[in-house]
Symmetry: C2
DNA sequence: AAGGGGCTGCTTGTCGACTAGTTGACTTGT
DNA sequence: ACAAGTCAACTAGTCGACAAGCAGCCCCTT
């Protein structure tokens, strides 16, 4: 796994400063459990129980829950309870659209104005890392993320990745589910390579279409999942 | 101003259900005062004072402040105080990039797959509304927003507009500042018309370039503002 | 026996008091 | 007069108790 880049470290610091440690810890823990489906959709989350479990009062728990609700991971129903939200098909469609729109813009700009040598090197390194992770889905997922993150941050717009991360979070639950049915890593690596080549070759149109192909990969998995895990999904449109 | 569309009304309801009325009211009020610069950057916001002012305890105030902090309107410095954030140049760059990426994708899709007759009619109506508001900047701003919103919501991806709205919020403060120096409404209307024509003519490439021109308009204002109101801006990159 | 109304136990929402940490003014020593 | 250290007055963070509201159970009435 690549080392944290300097500005991303600063981001984390800034985020830590915004919320006290206990709130952050509770939020991170619950988020992790939700994304990894240890907490399944529709599970009830009682503020009292959680406060007991984390050894705090309800106040920090409540703040963490509010943040999770804002991120779409739980639904707070006043005077009734808080529940882990279902994986929303609508949210996935939106996430895909946003991701495609932004990442296409990114690679077009990268291809038209070029990337610095260190960045290109970092992308090559990430590719090599992906090859090494060919047989280890979890490791590959991390390397995959790192590649896209490097690309997006490479064009030098602060916090742009965090916009995608916000959308992506809904995906992460799905990705966890779909590890068994996912597109072979080798195919994804070839697509990454095509994107990188187009950037190096300074060909925006090629970069765009390569990214478009890559993004359509994600869509294929969605339908499979909807059929296979209907109780975890909500079909709200 | 056009009537609220059904799904946007549902959005509001859902949001209202997520947060109790008092929190919502405080959040909305403070947000409004920040966007309209009645509360200027670097102003101190004390939880105690606000609780007094709104006639509640600190708890609802605190929740509202947390949301404002997540939206980037205030900085909470633990044990020190909460302050209205400066208008971040970085955030504006990011907002512009995200907006351009998404709206271009939207109009391309709209042009390639076409829009329903009622939607086209609604867009025409919005254009007419803009013409009527030619001399009234505030009204024009609303009509302008309505046009873009109709476009974005038109391609039928739930909550997509709210992603833009989240980014746009930083812009709104700027837009309020820039009312005097803004591009003439007539020019913007012409650009809107060009976008709509390209969609009706089912010409994605034309729609994209028309939108690109339109988006670059926003950029022009930025530099002027940075020169004119340096104390309100932060140059963090 | 069936249906309706109240009660009980839960939930989140709100409150005021207390804790911990920071800042700057003021005091106290030199 | 000046500098260093102390203290008082803020801040946000946490806590436990209470209020308001919903839902289902149980009992009472018909």
């Amino acid at each position: 796994m690549p080392v944290l880049r300097r500005d991303s470290a600063r981001e984390l610091e800034a985020a830590a400063r915004r919320h006290p440690p206990s709130v952050r810890a509770i939020h991170a823990q619950l988020r992790h459990e939700i994304v990894t489906l240890r907490l399944r959709p529709a599970t009830r989350l009682s503020e009292n129980e959680l406060a007991l479990r984390f050894g705090t009062s309800r106040a920090p728990v409540r703040e963490a829950l509010i943040r999770l609700a804002d991120e779409g991971f739980i639904d707070i129903q006043p005077q009734r309870g808080s529940f882990v939200s279902r994986i929303s098909l609508g949210a996935m469609r939106r996430a895909r659209f946003v991701r495609e729109a932004i990442e296409i813009s990114v690679v077009r700009q990268a291809a038209s104005q070029g990337l610095s040598a260190p960045l290109l090197l970092q992308l090559e390194t990430s590719l090599a890392d992906q090859v090494r992770a060919l047989e280890d889905p979890e490791h590959f997922t991390l390397a995959d993320d790192a590649f896209h993150r490097t690309l997006v941050e490479g064009i030098g717009i602060a916090q742009l990745w965090s916009v995608l991360e916000r959308e992506k979070s809904q995906f992460d639950r799905v990705r966890f589910l779909s590890l068994p049915h996912t597109t072979p890593a080798a195919v994804l690596i070839d697509q990454h390579r095509a994107i990188l080549s187009a950037i190096i070759g300074r060909d925006p149109a090629a970069a765009e279409s390569a990214m478009r192909v890559h993004m359509s990969e994600v869509l294929k998995i969605t339908q499979t999942l909807l059929d296979r895990y209907p109780d975890l999904m909500s079909n709200d449109d």
